[in-house]
Symmetry: C2
């Protein structure tokens, strides 16, 4: 069994100029849906509201996933990695459940060619 | 059903100063094990050898996960996200299967406190 400690951890935003990667995983299927970045404010907003919120590097602003499409991601669990610089958000897909802006269920819908499998 | 296209994609290393995040997921359980970064060379080495290889930002060098511990990560599948700046590696845990340097099975073994669950 995996033991899980509950911690109040201060995340380390120093390694990526104020950002941490946030992996979003479907809380039931375990499918990895997308990866975005959070700054301190996005991290705080995500925890306070329970809806996954990122920092957009291109638009230089916070964005709550699904704020336009309605396909928000409702937080079900949040795990922190061993060195406090990455988070794993287990979430429920709201709306039509299509997470990717292309209309796919997940942003990871393409397979890399020519990979050696040992 | 999720359709998966097979693609030969050139990854976009421009957004993070030559790096892309790489999420490693257990190929059977779906557990997210760790997140590291790859530069072009680490990405090439990972695909060519079939063993997950990162770029260490602190040591400024490539490192193949498990090269010291023996707990290598054997690639089973590689997916690319919609905008070519993140990869998802489904892998088999070799050695004793403990991925984290702390000896835990996964780097995500702690839960964030005080999270609102809507």
């Amino acid at each position: 069994m995996q033991r899980v400690q509950e911690v109040h951890e201060v995340m380390d935003f120093s390694k990526l100029d104020g950002l941490i990667p946030a992996v979003v995983q479907d809380h039931v299927s375990g499918e990895v849906l997308m990866v975005g970045f959070m700054n301190q404010e996005a991290w705080d907003v995500t925890r306070q509201t329970g809806y996954v919120t990122f920092f957009s590097r291109t638009r230089n602003t916070l964005w709550t996933k699904g704020e336009t499409s309605g396909n928000r991601l409702a937080v079900r669990d949040v795990l922190i990695d061993c060195d406090d610089d990455t988070v794993l958000v287990k979430a429920e897909r709201l709306g039509d459940g299509n997470v990717c802006h292309t209309g796919e269920r997940t942003c990871f819908f393409r397979r890399a060619e020519g990979v050696t499998v040992p």
